[in-house]
């Protein structure tokens, strides 16, 4: 187990190194001069040159790369369009995204797991058809459009929920004020939709698979009540792939956050990403991409390790 973890961590470093190269190359090859964007329209050439000097844009590319990577590691890398370090910018925006992602995940799991189980237990019933059809529609709906529709119905027509923004926050950065929660509903539901659909499908498939197993048959044969068979024997085993999937969803949630946050003006890191790409803030884009990549890979690793912990049949090495 220990050896496996070390090997995985080593692989992660390799992948992250590859990622820095890929992203840095793309950023530097992009047309457009960040200094010009920062200086604004009609800026004098001297001003642009001064900004270029300040940002270190005239240095050789390998030197710039080195500065980006070391700057990110020791936290000194300055954002180009903020007067702060990249980390300060990310950390300022992070709570909003975490709040959104966690709530979306909770909503998704609360709805999808019961739906998937019911759909598997009552296979081929109208309920099953309803769940599978809704789940199929769910994976076909773009999150940003769903957010728009929710804003239209609940914000504009019924006027029960605020249309956009994050609302009041506690102590300046935290969440969970009443107003904050009201603002959270639309983006969280929109973001949850795809996960909800995917999870329901997965739970259903996994339940059906488990219900075919011998131990379920023998549990029934020894006369256990149906809900005991389902709850204690089938459900717990069926949850394994669902748990694994939660780890993979961290990446999907980030991707969804990019669109949902932009649509609903939610001030998280997804929106920061879009803004920074548009403003050519190479430092923030670089830091943010690596941050998302690291989060994704760490969650993947944690789930893999957790998997072995939950299911004693699985061993690595």
């Amino acid at each position: 187990m220990f050896a496996y973890t070390v090997r995985r961590l080593a692989q992660m470093v390799v992948v992250l190194f590859g990622l820095t190269i890929l992203i840095f190359t793309m950023l530097k090859a992009m047309p457009g001069d960040p200094a010009k964007v920062m200086a604004g329209l009609g800026a004098r050439p001297e001003t642009i040159a001064a900004i270029r000097l300040k940002l270190g844009l005239d240095e050789p590319i390998p030197v710039q790369y080195w500065k980006f990577v070391t700057g990110l590691l020791n936290g000194q890398l300055q954002a180009m369009t903020f007067h702060k370090s990249v980390w300060a910018v990310i950390i300022e925006r992070l709570p909003a995204t975490v709040e959104l992602g966690v709530f979306a995940l909770i909503i998704a799991l609360l709805v999808s797991i019961p739906a998937g189980i019911l759909s598997a237990v009552y296979r081929n019933s109208p309920l099953d058809y309803a769940v599978t059809t809704i789940a199929l529609i769910g994976i076909s709906v773009p999150v940003f459009w769903l957010a728009l529709m929710l804003m239209l119905v609940f914000g504009v027509i019924l006027k029960v929920l605020p249309v956009s923004g994050r609302g009041d926050t506690l102590w300046g950065w935290s969440f969970l004020t009443l107003d904050g929660l009201r603002h959270l509903v639309i983006p969280a539901v929109a973001l949850a939709s795809v996960q909800m659909a995917l999870n329901a499908r997965l739970t259903r498939a996994s339940m059906l698979e488990v219900m075919r197993q011998e131990y379920v048959k023998s549990a029934r044969a020894k006369g256990l009540r149906e809900w005991v068979v389902m709850g204690r024997h089938a459900f717990r085993n069926a949850m394994l792939p669902v748990v694994t999937n939660v780890g993979i969803q961290v990446g999907a949630l980030f991707a969804g956050a990019v669109l949902t946050e932009t649509t609903t003006a939610w001030p998280g890191i997804g929106r920061l990403m879009v803004e920074s790409i548009a403003r050519l803030d190479q430092a923030v884009v670089f830091g943010l991409t690596l941050f998302m990549g690291t989060c994704f890979m760490v969650s993947y690793l944690v789930v893999d390790l957790l998997y072995a912990y939950i299911d004693p049949r699985i061993t690595y090495d």
Partner: protein, 378 residues
Amino acid sequence: MKAALYILTLIAPGLGHMVIGRVGKGILFMTVLAGHAGTAYLAFQRGRFAWQPQPFAYKVSPTALWVSTICLLVVAAAVWVAALWDLRRSVQRQEASHVEAEGYWRLVSRRFSQDPKGLIGLAIISIVCYVAIFAPFLASTDATRMNLRAALVEPGPSHPLGTDNFGRDILDRIIFGARVDLGIGVVATVFNMMLGGLLGLVAGYYRKTPDAVIMRILEIVNAVPFLVLVLLAISLFGSSVGMMILVLGIFGLEPARIVRSEVLSVRENDYVMAARAMGAPTRRIIFRHVLPNSIASLIVVATMAIGVNIIVVAGLSFLGFGVKPPTPSWGSMLQEAQEFMRRAWWMAVFPGLSIVTTVFGFNILGDSLRDVLDPRLK
């Protein structure tokens, strides 16, 4: 007697089917032909056939009109041919005294024709493709001309789905948008399949070093949300339609993973070992034995990938990084709609519904194909 059937079918496709009692198919052929005739009538009434002179303000290129015109004839001919061919098969099957052994593809097509999910998906996709191909005939304008006096008109008789802030007809823009969205989605997926499929084949078949290298590349690409990667690539290469196809095609490497795992299991089969024992070259083993046996999952993945690509294109355009105005695309229509949410709900609702319906069509078809293509099930 048989000749009479064929003559009836030549007069009106579907008539022959009705005579021999296959009413459902007969009605299907007739409906398709009637719909197609409707398209031809629209084209004629508006003077949109390629040989007719177009007004100066009409901004659809003559080549595009030629393509639609030729397709109009091809589709009409295809209806007749399909009706005749299907009739011949039905008659033969009615006369046959013995049941023929079923090959794999025959089995698949029979199971597919009994699966309502797949048929619904196929119907949706066919209609969207049809609309895309005959967009110039079906749309009343070229979808780019502005008319500020008719801006933000509610859905009504003159504009069934309303107009946008520039007075452009929403229905027309959706019709022309189908070309852009479907085109990018389908072509990008073809690239995905070729590149991802090749990588997956190589990784799964050779294993060892190639596998390790390819898997690391996949992990690098996979570590960042797909949308973010595509956003970066689009800002790097520009957002022309061709570039979007290329970028989506190159970075959408998810098929590689699935093909790889499929190949890993296929290559362990005895027939692969037998081929190798007989001294077949690697190329032959891969293309004659491994690939055909992995094709089923490839088809399913491709179908679903088209849906994903359509959503990503819409997302990019929605963020303002994708298809640039005035070219109509469903995603950019939604972007424009955002500003007018309070005044013009129709601008946001209908393009979104088109996306959902189309992607749903691909997803439900893929779902059905997954069941149908796997002979081990049922």
